[in-house]
Symmetry: C2
Subunit: 158 residues, 2 copies
C-alpha cells in the first residue's frame, strides 16, 4: 500500500506543489482562531466547528468527527456546557443518547471568528489580480466538490 493508483493519474509534482503552496492559506485560516476574544481554546473551537458544519449530533458521532474517544469528547462537552456554548439534552428517540446543540452565544462567537477570517483573507486577496482571484475560487470550488465526492470511501480506517 505504499503506492496508489491515483499517483499514476495525477502527477506527484503537481500534488506536491499544491500542498506546498496551500500552507500560506492554511496558516492564515488558522490564525483567525487566535483572534477571537474572549479566547476559545482550540479543542472547544473544533467542537463548535463540527456542530456548525453538520448540525446537532450525539456524542458518538462527535467523537468520530474529532478522531477522539467518548471520554475526552464528554469532558469537552462539560466545559462547553459550563461556558454556555453548548446544550446537552437527552434524545427523545433513545434514552441513552444525548443530543448536542450549539447555543446562540456559540453561533455569535463562530460568526466573529468567520468575520476575522474574511477580513484577513480580504487583506491578502486585495493584493492579487482579478484573474488570480478567479483561478483560486474556481480551483477551490472544484477541490471542494472532489473532496465531497470521495467522502464516503475515504474515511480513514481506525
Amino acid at each position: 500500500m505504499t503506492s496508489r493508483q491515483h499517483e499514476r493519474t495525477t502527477p506527484g509534482s503537481t500534488v506536491g506543489e499544491v500542498t506546498a503552496q496551500a500552507q500560506a492559506l492554511v496558516l492564515l485560516w488558522e490564525r483567525a482562531d487566535d483572534g477571537v476574544v474572549p479566547r476559545i481554546p482550540p479543542s472547544q473551537l473544533r467542537v463548535l466547528g463540527v456542530l456548525a458544519r453538520y448540525g446537532s449530533m450525539n456524542l458518538t458521532r462527535l467523537t468520530q468527527e474529532l478522531s477522539s474517544i467518548p471520554s475526552s469528547a464528554s469532558r469537552l462537552c462539560d466545559r462547553l456546557e459550563a461556558a454556555g456554548l453548548l446544550v446537552r439534552r437527552v434524545s427523545p428517540d433513545s434514552g441513552r443518547e444525548v443530543i448536542l446543540t450549539l447555543s446562540d452565544e456559540a453561533r455569535r462567537r463562530l460568526d466573529a471568528v468567520a468575520q476575522i477570517r474574511r477580513d484577513d483573507f480580504a487583506e491578502v486577496m486585495a493584493r492579487m489580480s482579478p484573474r488570480s482571484r478567479a483561478a483560486l475560487l474556481n480551483g477551490l470550488r472544484e477541490f471542494s466538490e472532489a473532496a465531497r465526492c470521495g467522502e464516503q470511501e475515504s474515511a480513514r480506517p481506525a
Copy 2:
C-alpha cells in the same frame, strides 16, 4: 475600524466565497496531523512546524510564532526535548538565549505527516480536471505570494 479599504477593491462576495470553499482544503490538511503514528499532540506538532518553516530560533521568537507566552512555550519545549524531538542549547552569542533545533527524529516525523498529506491531496485531486488542478495551483501560488508581501505590516497587534 469596522470597514476597511480593501473591501472596496476586492468584492466581499468573492472573499466570502473563497473562505467558504477553502474549508474543505483546510480540513483535509489538518486531517494528516491525526494520521501520524505514534501520535504527536497538536501543540507539539505546531512547534515542530514552526521550526521546520523558519529554522532554529530562540524561545521568545517561538513564543511569538505560537501567539503564546514564554512559560507555555518553555513547558512545551520540556516535553519535546524529553520526547527526543527537540534540542535546546545555550546560544554561543548570548548566554541568556536558548537555541531551539529540530532533532533528526522530528524531521522524519514531519516528513511522515507531509507524505500522508500528499496522499490525501492526491486522492482528491485525482477527481479534478487537469484544468481545475492548474487553476488551483496558480491561485494558491498567487495567494501565497500576496500573503508573503503583506507579512510585515499585517502582524496582528498584541
